[in-house]
């Protein structure tokens, strides 16, 4: 009886039989579901009025997860987990030892050096909360007391019984229903995870997934800090994506600064100008494709000319897909490209984006000229080329002027701030001397 609902709830525990001793991997797998469920529960908590906004309240999914984890360490639910086992288990969470020590102090209420099931649930909950940025309380919250948890623990056993009856008939369907039930209450992205996870569940190569997706045991908790890095690679693996989504939703819901999650290397370095951002991406893709095609053919006799010709044609190519976009931005990118072509090709995307900022102002001047050039694609390229070269020079000069102006402004600002800094320093010194005077003189 205890095994069946186990399998129903978490696909990872289908491997209980196979790797009973390898409980390290199971928490790793189940942690993804935990995060998903946690995210679901967090948002449920935040949104619904049923639960008070209490991060210290253990929800049903969390409780089930904790119970399963307990089982992985100690099959008998009424018995203890010894201190050393618990220590090994919680050390995997990568929390610093003093914090783990404090968590233990809080959760081991009877101070016997062992954790009963409610104590274990409380400790695990505290670990999860800490990983998600919550500060540890000084005393154990009421909802984490063992008596409270004992009383509440009767309920999930009933649910287990219900699922037990379902499991025999439709294991897969029940799983989908189980997760869909939880996900209905959560954000949109979570059902994606559930769908992905269900695909993963139905996949027979779960063991493979365990090994590949979670190479090291500590990852079970590391995924909590993984943010959108995995989001970007969502096409590659379903599992990291689910982890990352759940973690981001947790962080969104909790809205707390985490231990520094590894920020993904975002490809966009430009400042956030909303419209230009999308353009940048599209241009990046287009230019990269176009450049590779364009650079070899034109003869390198006159560098400005072929570059201009290239830019002219890419500009028209890109203007087509973006007819609805304001032409100025198209122009700004094309003008940027003129500069960029002269530089090395591999650094084009970043360079171009940086330049889009500086050359944003010059776009209106270029727009009429480039419009002319783009409207005459079939005409000999030399006439617009000559126009564009002069326009190009003017564009560069205006850009230089603008840069100088911004430099002047920034320098002024800098001097003002320096002045303020000096004043604040003086104040600080004055206050410190006052403090020294006020401090009681110690008589030896």
């Amino acid at each position: 009886m205890s095994v069946a609902p186990y399998e129903v709830r978490h696909p990872t525990h289908q491997q209980d039989g196979s790797s009973s001793g390898n409980y390290g991997a199971k928490p790793a797998l189940a942690c993804s579901t935990l995060n998903r469920s946690l995210s679901a529960e967090r948002e449920q908590q935040d949104s619904s009025a049923h639960y008070s906004d209490d991060p210290w309240r253990i929800t049903e999914e969390q409780r089930d997860y904790y119970v399963n984890q307990f089982r992985s360490l100690q099959p008998d639910l009424n018995s203890f987990i010894s201190g050393s086992m618990a220590k090994n288990f919680f050390t995997k969470s990568k929390l610093p030892i003093p914090e783990l020590s404090h968590i233990w102090e809080l959760s081991d209420v009877d101070c016997d050096g062992a954790l009963t099931l409610p104590e274990f649930c409380a400790a695990f909950h505290l670990v999860v909360a800490r990983k998600n940025g919550y500060q540890l309380p000084e005393t154990l919250p009421e909802t984490l007391l063992p008596e409270y948890l004992q009383a509440a623990s009767l309920k999930p056993m009933r649910d287990c019984a219900l699922f037990d009856s379902y499991s025999e008939s439709l294991p897969g369907g029940q799983q989908t229903r189980d997760f869909s039930r939880t996900e209905k209450k959560s954000a949109e992205e979570v059902p994606d995870n559930s769908a992905l996870l269900q695909d993963g569940k139905k996949d027979d190569k779960q063991a493979l997934k365990v090994s590949t997706a979670l190479k090291t045991i500590p990852k079970e908790f590391q995924h909590l800090t993984v943010k959108t890095a995995a989001q970007e690679s969502n096409a590659l693996k379903a599992r990291p994506r689910s982890r990352s989504y759940s973690s981001t939703s947790i962080e969104d819901a909790m809205k707390k600064g985490e231990e520094p999650p590894t920020p993904p290397p975002r490809p966009q370095k430009s400042h956030s100008r909303a419209s230009s951002l999308d353009l940048n991406k599209i241009f990046q893709q287009n230019t990269q494709a176009v450049r590779s095609g364009w650079l070899p053919p034109p003869p390198p006799a006159l560098p400005p000319r072929p570059s201009v010709s290239q830019t002219e044609q890419p500009s028209e190519v890109e203007l087509h897909p973006q007819m609805n976009r304001p032409p100025s931005q198209a122009e700004e990118n094309s003008s940027a490209k003129k500069e960029v072509v002269l530089s090395q090709p591999p650094s084009k995307p970043t360079r171009r984006k940086l330049r889009t900022e500086t050359q944003g102002l010059e776009t209106p001047e270029l727009s009429p000229t480039i419009n002319v050039t783009s409207s005459l694609p079939a005409v000999k390229p030399h006439l617009p080329v000559q126009k564009q070269s002069s326009k190009q020079k003017r564009a560069i000069q205006t850009a230089i002027r603008k840069n100088k102006e911004t430099n002047a402004v920034l320098a002024r600002l800098n001097s003002e701030l320096q002045q303020q800094l000096k004043e604040v320093h003086k104040e600080r010194i004055a206050l410190e001397t006052q403090l020294e005077q006020l401090r009681p003189v110690t008589v030896l």
């Binding site: 201190g83 220590k87 783990l100 020590s101 404090h102 102090e105 081991d108 101070c111 050096g113």
Partner: protein, 139 residues
Amino acid sequence: MAVCIAVIAKENYPLYIRSVPTENELKFHYTVHTSLDVVDEKISAMGKALVDQRELYLGLLYPTEDYKVYGYVTNSKVKFVMVVDSSNTALRDNEIRSMFRKLHNSYTDIMCNPFYNPGDRIHSRAFDNMVNSMMMQVC
């Protein structure tokens, strides 16, 4: 009410030491250190000691004009030293014993924590709270 409480490890280095009026901290550290000699003397005098509460409690180690020093040793040779202000209405022996018993209980609770390595400094907040409750209240 104690003025200074110290937990000394078996090798005679402090695991925890806390005194209430913090400006005289160094003096109390010195006092505790010198009291260790007296503790060792009493321990060696006991010989093969029976495991008994009375054996654990060493009683008044030595009095000075300002304060009295009491000692207590556990079975694992972890020593508790308490410095009490003499001006305080003389605390009864039983009270001192009960304070040591509380200390001992808190110490065992710390030992139960698997994340605590014996020999480390004690950083437990629960232990701090308990010690604070025993310390004198500074105006």
